[in-house]
C-alpha cells in the first residue's frame, strides 16, 4: 500500500500510469473507477483544504495584532500566497523536484513544471499527474511562506515583505525540498530523514524565517518598557484568532492526510492522529497556561491547537494514536513556554509563529525518533523509534536533519532580510508604525465606521487613521 511519495534513487517502483493510456485503460472493466483517478481527485480535494489554510493564517495573524494594521496583515497573507504560487510555478518547483543539478546542492529542470498541461504525462509522484502534484506542492510552498508575516507584523514595509515572499517560495524553500522530498541527500542517507508532511520542511522553515525576521526587525514600538521588560500589546479580535485556528484545524485534514499522496487505507489513520494531536495540544496548552497565569488564555489555547497540529505533522504516518496524543500534548505545553521565552528574550512575535512553527515543528520532527513504529516511506522500516527498540540511528538522523535545516534557513533568510534592510529597507518609519500601516502603506484604514456622506469625515472610530507626527 503506497504511503508517502517515495524518494531518492530506487526507493519506489511507480505504479503503472493507466489513466491516459488507452491500452491500460481497457484492462479496467467498463464503469470501474481507476485508482489513479481517485488518487488524483483525493489529493486535489486535500489541496483545496490546504489552500484554505491561507485564510486561517490571515485571520489568526490579524486577530493577534492591532486594528490599525489589519489591512496590511491581510494583504501580506493574500500576497504571499498569490505571488508565492507564481514564483513556485515558474522557478521554485523546478528547484525542488527537478533532476539533480549543481552536484546535488539542488535540482533544476528548467523553468516551469514539466508535463503540467499534459493529461497523459508520466506521473510526477505515485499516481499523481504533474498538475495534481504541482497543485499540492504549491499549496505547501504558500504555507511555508505565509507563516512569517505574523512574526513580522505591524512594522514591516509591504514592499520588503513582498520581496521576501518571492525569494522564499522561489529559492529557499525549494532548496530544502530538493534535499528532502525531492529526493536529495537527506533522503539518501543510510538512515534517511523522516518528515511525513513537513513539521520541519514546511513549518520550521516558516518558523525559523519568522525568527530571523523578528530579530532583525526588532520589536514594535512600546513592546518593551525602558527596563526592557515585555509589555502587553493585545490583539484586536479573539473572534478572528479562534476562527482562524479552526480553519487551520480543518485545513490540516488536507495537509497531513493529503500528504499520503494517494487514496489508501492509511489516510483515515492520518486524519485521526492529526485530530487527536491537535485536540491534545489545545487542551494541554490551556491547562499549562491556566496553571501559570491563573486564567485560561483564549489565544494560547488556539496556539496550542496549532502547536499540536504542527507537532504531529512529521510523525503522523509512523505513530500510534496514543503517541499522537502525547506528541500533541507536549507541543501544547511547549508553545506556552516558548512564547514566554521569546517574549522575555526581546523577540517580538505577536502571533507566536516562531514557537508554533519553529519550536513545535522541531519537536514533532524529533518525536519520530522516539515514537515511530509504523513504516512510512521515509523510514523504510517498522519500529524505528527508541520506544520500540529502534535504536538511536533515527535520532541521529533527525537531529542532523533539524540542525542542517536550521542553519540553512536562518543563514539564508537572515542574509535575505539584511539585504532587504540595506537596500529598500525592512521597517516602516516610526510615524507610520505609530499611525498603523493601513493608511500609510495601503491608502485606507482597515476598519471604517464612517457615518457621513462618504467624505471620510468621521472615519474609523476607534481605529487610528494616520497621524502626521
Amino acid at each position: 500500500m503506497p504511503r508517502r511519495l517515495a524518494l531518492g534513487a530506487g526507493l519506489v517502483a511507480v505504479l503503472t500510469y493507466v489513466m491516459a493510456s488507452p491500452a491500460a485503460a481497457q484492462e479496467l472493466p467498463e464503469g470501474a473507477a481507476s485508482q489513479v483517478i481517485l488518487d488524483n481527485i483525493w489529493v486535489l480535494i486535500a489541496t483545496v483544504l490546504v489552500f484554505f489554510m491561507q485564510a486561517g493564517f490571515a485571520l489568526v495573524e490579524a486577530g493577534l495584532t492591532r486594528a490599525k494594521s489589519v489591512g496590511n496583515i491581510m494583504m501580506k497573507n493574500l500576497m504571499d500566497c498569490m505571488a508565492g504560487v507564481l514564483a513556485f510555478l515558474f522557478v521554485g518547483y523546478s528547484i525542488g523536484f527537478g533532476a539533480e543539478a549543481l552536484g546535488g546542492f539542488f535540482s533544476w529542470d528548467g523553468f516551469g513544471v514539466p508535463g503540467i498541461d499534459d493529461v497523459a504525462a508520466a506521473p510526477a509522484a505515485l499516481n499523481l499527474s504533474p498538475a495534481t502534484f504541482f497543485f499540492f506542492q504549491a499549496a505547501f510552498a504558500a504555507t511555508a511562506a505565509t507563516i512569517v508575516s505574523g512574526a513580522m507584523a505591524e512594522r514591516t514595509k509591504f514592499k520588503s515583505y513582498f520581496i521576501y515572499s518571492l525569494v522564499i517560495t522561489s529559492l529557499i524553500y525549494p532548496v530544502i525540498l530538493s534535499w528532502t522530498w525531492g529526493g536529495g541527500w537527506l533522503s539518501q542517507l543510510d538512515i534517511p530523514f523522516s518528515d511525513f508532511a513537513g513539521s520541519t520542511i514546511v513549518h520550521a522553515t516558516g518558523g525559523w524565517a519568522a525568527m530571523m525576521g523578528a530579530i532583525i526587525l526588532g520589536p514594535r514600538i512600546g513592546k518593551y518598557g525602558p527596563d526592557g521588560r515585555p509589555r502587553v500589546i493585545q490583539g484586536h479580535s479573539i473572534v478572528l484568532v479562534v476562527l482562524g485556528a479552526l480553519i487551520l484545524f480543518i485545513g490540516w485534514f488536507g495537509f497531513n492526510p493529503g500528504s499520503e499522496l494517494a487514496a489508501d487505507a492509511l489516510v483515515p489513520q492520518l486524519a485521526v492522529k492529526t485530530l487527536v494531536a491537535g485536540c491534545a495540544g489545545a487542551v494541554i496548552a490551556m491547562l499549562v497556561n491556566w496553571a501559570l497565569d491563573r486564567k485560561p488564555d483564549v489565544s494560547m489555547a488556539a496556539n496550542g491547537l496549532l502547536a499540536g497540529l504542527v507537532s504531529v505533522t512529521a510523525p503522523v504516518g509512523a505513530i500510534e494514536t496514543w503517541a499522537a496524543v502525547v506528541i500533541g500534548a507536549v507541543g501544547g505545553a511547549l508553545v506556552v513556554l516558548s512564547v514566554r521565552f521569546f517574549d522575555r528574550r526581546g523577540v517580538d512575535d505577536p502571533v507566536g509563529a516562531i514557537s508554533v512553527h519553529g519550536v513545535c515543528g522541531t519537536w514533532g520532527t524529533l518525536s519520530i525518533a522516539f515514537f515511530a513504529t509504523f513504516d512510512d516511506a521515509f523510514l523504510g522500516r517498522e519500529d524505528a523509534g527508541l520506544l520500540y527498540g529502534g535504536g538511536i540511528g533515527q535520532l541521529s538522523t533527525q537531529a542532523l536533519f533539524i540542525l542542517v535545516h536550521f542553519v540553512f534557513v536562518t543563514v539564508t533568510t537572515g542574509l535575505l532580510f539584511l539585504a532587504i534592510k540595506k537596500t529598500v529597507g525592512l521597517r516602516v518609519s516610526e510615524e507610520e508604525e505609530l499611525a498603523g500601516l493601513d493608511v500609510m502603506e495601503h491608502g485606507a484604514p482597515g476598519y471604517s465606521t464612517e457615518q457621513g456622506q462618504g467624505t471620510g469625515l468621521l472615519p474609523s472610530a476607534g481605529v487610528p487613521v494616520v497621524e502626521r507626527v
Binding site: R231, V232, L292, D293, K295, D297, S299, R340, D343, G352
Partner: protein
C-alpha cells in the same frame, strides 16, 4: 443656564435616563468614556505577560438645563446612579453662556 456632566457606570445609564425623564428633562447627550480613579488598577496576564487595566468603561452624560433647578438634576442623577460601590462616578456643573436649538434658532431656555 448650566451644563451638568456626569460620569457614571455604563449600566446605570438606563436608570439615570428614566429618572431624568421623570423630572421633566427633555434631552441629554451620552458618550462612551474610560475612567481612571480610585476604583482602578487590577492586573491580568495576556499570553504570559502581566499588564494592568487602569481604565474602566464609563458613560458620560451631559444635560443642559435652564429654568429648572440644576441641583435637582444633579441629585436625581446622583441617586439614580448610586450603587454605593467604588467607581460610581462624579457629577459636575458648569455655567453656560448661550444655547441655541439648531433646527429653529431658538435661544436660551427655549433652546432646551
Amino acid at each position: 443656564m448650566q451644563l451638568i456632566t456626569a460620569v457614571i457606570k455604563p449600566h446605570a445609564l438606563d436608570a439615570v435616563k428614566d429618572a431624568l425623564k421623570a423630572i421633566g428633562v427633555s434631552g441629554l447627550t451620552v458618550s462612551e468614556v474610560r475612567g481612571f480613579g480610585r476604583q482602578g488598577g487590577h492586573t491580568e496576564t495576556y499570553r504570559g505577560t502581566e499588564y494592568t487595566i487602569d481604565f474602566v468603561p464609563k458613560a458620560k452624560v451631559e444635560v443642559l438645563v435652564d429654568g429648572m433647578d440644576a441641583d435637582k438634576v444633579v441629585d436625581t442623577i446622583a441617586s439614580a446612579a448610586q450603587s454605593g460601590k467604588i467607581g460610581d462616578g462624579k457629577i459636575w456643573v458648569t455655567e453656560v453662556g448661550r444655547a441655541v436649538r439648531i433646527r429653529t434658532g431658538e435661544q436660551g431656555s427655549d433652546a432646551i
